[in-house]
């Protein structure tokens, strides 16, 4: 199903929940809708499903304007954040609901539900009621129920929000595989960027009701178009005075421009460990945080504080220790743009082309 959204806006009693959002989604893509809490993600999804009507703008599904089409006729499956399973129906009846409503015959319903029970690994749970299921199983029922009437578009509002971290990871891998098997166009909301990056073919970043950027996870990561995206994606630190950083003294900036540095742009170590000592500045280790697979360092460089990663295999550093800090690159951001700047001092005396 091809989706096109043009200039959608929604206002709740003077609060602009969605403002002038336009995008288009190709058939079969899995889209991650990412943004901070209250950014308008759910509202956008509800508008697509027809559960909310936009104040302005048009929605086209397969080229057909659907603004006035009832949710019942849109052919969209919706998985709600709290699943919204029918409490008084067992798993079978929950999944069968969309088919029973359409007065399909018994055998056909049975066949389709069986198919979905197998697909979602819920075989054997048909007779259970929602309260007799774990969070992950409920999630699957909600998913199977939405899929049963063969929708052309699947919308998922924070499908994993109520599930613990480990199961969540399993479920999202499962979901991605499943969606690619069925080949259904899907949009899922999340405010967990790892989840979006891992699962989505394409991401939509939404903030304060506005669409900030649309693109593949890689392009969003490497080429953020706005200051918000540059700061939101990755574990970014904001630097107020970029020109005070070694290597960036001559960078041309308008007054008051900030820079954003991600930990992976920063190399920290004893002097002999750094590849381009001449491009490095001196800093002090303020704190060291254990992050499981690596260490995160909080470094003071002049007036700025930056974050950096360090492998557990490397020689340990101590808090208070003086270290060399090499900043490979940073994003210079202004109100509506983000530009990447490489450290100009980082010139390899013997360039090797790989």
């Amino acid at each position: 199903m091809h989706i096109e959204v043009r200039g959608i806006s929604k206002n709740y009693n003077g609060h602009q929940a969605v403002s002038d959002v336009s995008f288009s989604i190709e058939r079969g893509k899995l889209i991650g809708l990412l943004g901070p809490s209250g950014g308008g993600k759910s509202t956008l999804l509800r508008i697509l499903a027809g559960l909310e009507s936009p104040d302005a703008g048009e929605i086209y599904i397969n080229g057909k304007l659907v603004n006035d089409v009832q949710p019942q006729q849109r052919g969209i499956g919706f998985v709600f954040q709290n699943y919204a399973l029918f409490k008084h129906m067992n798993v079978f009846d929950n999944i069968a609901f969309g088919l029973t409503i359409r007065k399909k015959d018994k055998a056909e319903i049975k066949q389709r539900v069986d198919e979905l029970l197998d697909l979602t690994g819920l075989r054997g749970f048909e007779k259970r009621y929602p309260h007799q299921l774990s969070g992950g199983q409920r999630q699957r029922v909600a998913f199977a129920r939405a899929l049963a009437p063969r929708p052309e578009l699947l919308l998922l509002d924070e499908p994993f929000a109520a599930i613990d971290a480990k199961v969540r990871k399993e479920l999202r891998t499962w979901l991605k595989q499943l969606i690619s098997t069925i080949g259904i166009t899907s949009i899922f909301v999340t405010h967990d960027q790892d989840e979006a990056v891992e699962v989505a073919d394409e991401m939509l970043i939404v903030q304060q009701g506005r669409l900030e950027q649309q693109g593949t996870p890689v392009s969003i990561y490497t080429e953020p178009k706005t200051a918000f995206v540059a700061g939101f994606i990755g574990h970014s630190t904001v630097v107020e005075q970029p020109t005070s950083l070694r290597g960036f003294e001559l960078t041309k900036l308008s007054v008051g421009t900030q820079a954003i540095i991600r930990p992976e742009f920063v190399e920290v170590g004893r002097e002999q460990e750094i590849a381009f000592p001449s491009a490095a500045a001196k800093g002090t280790v303020r704190h060291i945080f254990f992050r499981g697979a690596h260490l995160e360092l909080d470094i003071q460089v002049g007036d700025n504080r930056v974050a950096a990663h360090r492998s557990l295999d490397q020689e340990p550093l101590q808090p208070g220790e003086e270290v060399s800090v090499l900043i490979h690159r940073l994003y210079v951001v202004s109100e509506q743009s983000a530009t990447m700047v490489e450290n100009p001092l980082k010139v390899d005396p013997l360039p090797v082309h790989i």
Binding site: L51, Q72, Q73, I76, G77, F80, A84, K87, R145, P149
Partner: protein, 291 residues
Amino acid sequence: MAGAITAHLSEKASKRPKHITESPIIRVVLIGIALLFLGLIVLLPLASIFVEAFKKGFEVYVASVTDPDAISALKLTLMTVLIAVPLNTVFGIAAAWAISKFQFRGKNVLITLIDLPFAVSPVISGLIFVLLFGAQGMFGPWLAEHDIKIIFALPGIVLATTFVTFPFIARELIPLMQAQGVQEEEAAASLGAKGWQIFWRVTLPNVKWGLLYGIILCNARAVGEFGAVSVVSGHIRGETNTLPLHIEILYNEYQFSASFAVASLLVLLALVTLIVKSLVEWKSAQQQAEE
């Protein structure tokens, strides 16, 4: 199930730590007072009904209960209940639905109006209908012209009973439906269900125990209603006397055994209602524990 507050008197006491619990003596005294009060005010009168009913022997009891006037009173009462309770069920569901699912002008007025029958004395409730439909009432002349009898006839009794008992079901359902929210209904809509299907398959099954409980309360009150019905009935023996009215008449005529015998019928109806109510409570508590 926020609305089921009335439906669930949990037998479990809230756990109280020792330092805020009263001493054993005070506990015994409190429990004693409660039981004594219950015995004096509820059990003793109830028992006395049966004692009085059988005072003159079993024959007299059977005779009073099978007296044509008693039978006709019982029939009228059941007839009234059979019309008033379904009417109130439909009204209660409609009102609860409107109030909990839609925003509209005059919603607060509607909520206040639903409570009105609880607030005014039953006698006034009866008088309202006399003033409207009685011979001297607003519509009286018109009704007389068309030969329609409302006051001192079944329609009046049904109207008065319906009026007095209409808050029960709506009151029971409103908080339930409000607590339910719209999520399941939205899910149903996105799965293709239309308004009516959503109502039958999702909304109603979710409130069925609360609804049943409301119906039972409504039924209990409809069977026993005296004040309002007394005003509109006209006390025509064998025609417009409901059970409570019939009991009063017998009593006023010094036929004590007969009046208590008929009263025992009413008590039996009440007991059946109580048993059904307990069953519903038990079922709904089970349901709730599962959620």
